[in-house]
Symmetry: C2
Subunit: 187 residues, 2 copies
DNA sequence: CAGCCGATGTCAGTTCCTGTCATCAACCTA
DNA sequence: TAGGTTGATGACAGGAACTGACATCGGCTG
């Protein structure tokens, strides 16, 4: 299969399958490569390490977050701009609940993968803070708004994934954000 | 030095020195063990992996956060209880600025170490949310309060460490928290 | 067709980390 | 005091993650 197209995609799929079937630690990179019809060395040319294969490179999600935020009117208060962004992103996820769930199950089952996910969220937070700063928001308001936005997203996402009955993700986002506002106001 | 006391402490000190001198990746576990007068195998009996040596085991910091929060009057609003906790913790750090700075410099220089620190902060956030729940705070308010508290701490800590002139850490905490409240209120 | 180029293979090597068993000092206990 | 037990450490072998160097293959360009 050396010259079949989409080597990277084959590796991603093989990895997700194997991690699901027998767990992250019980899977070797050599096995992933073999299932994709490639060699271990080639795996490491496409992904920096064994975990990265689960996190799409040059994250399109982060890009979407940032560009949506950048497209928001500058007159809006930072927290309102963030609210707009979160709802837009939630809409993206809306019809991929099962896929999100499977991926999240693999990540939840392994500490190293959770570690990597935290890095991705931190990177997202930093990118959002940068974007806010470009729009004239000063520190520490920019970083705090970004952190708060990511926290709201994370918590709403967990609830959306974990609840047995499907609820509207946008609605969960709005509820969580309102809750944050209430908490901050000392309620 | 096989039977000298405090093997764990010697390993921690040797690691911090070597990581500072030549960097985390350029230091092997065998070198750390050798400087501490022990063997590589013994290092891994004391620390789960090469990074963990920088993060005190059974984190006393997390313990302090939690017990301080638990000691706060239940009548207080969650955000106010969190404010009390953050200021108490800040007081702990107050006289260790240089040590904090050196440690943070090592961590900032390496992605794997930042990754591990994020895990510690996530663990802290989870512990705080648990404690709030025990005090009757419902979800998602508990998790949001915890995340917000950790975010405020993180951002105030960065400012405290990075500014050339020493400012009062407690004061930075209060300012950051006020800023968060302002942001959440849509200012 | 010749030659270059990017993706892949092959191989050797380092380092992280683990399992297993031997060793040693300290401490009971009779 | 002798002997056994215990907990920490050493010694060794080995798996798996990752890297560097160089060879190979197919496609593309002139």
């Amino acid at each position: 299969m050396r010259w079949e197209p989409n080597a990277r995609g084959r590796l991603e799929q093989a990895a997700l399958e194997l991690y699901s079937e027998r767990g992250f630690e019980q899977t070797t990179v050599a096995e992933i490569a073999k299932r994709a019809g490639l060699t271990e060395r080639t795996f490491f040319r496409h992904f920096a390490d064994k975990r990265e294969v689960l996190f799409p490179g040059a994250s399109p999600l982060e890009e979407f977050f940032v560009s949506t935020l950048a497209g928001t009117p500058e007159s809006a208060a930072p927290i309102d701009a963030m609210a707009t962004v979160l709802e837009a992103v939630a809409a993206l996820f809306q019809d991929r609940r099962e896929l999100s769930r499977r991926r999240q199950a693999v990540i939840a089952a392994n500490a190293e993968l959770q570690e990597r996910e935290l890095v991705k969220l931190a990177s997202l937070s930093a990118a959002l803070a940068d974007t806010l700063r470009l729009r004239g928001v000063t520190e520490p308001a920019a970083s705090l708004t970004a952190e708060a936005g990511v926290a709201v997203f994370k918590i709403a996402f967990e609830r959306w994934i974990s609840e047995s009955n499907t609820r509207d993700f946008c609605r969960l986002i709005r509820e969580s954000l309102d809750e944050l506002k209430a908490v901050a106001a000392g309620k």
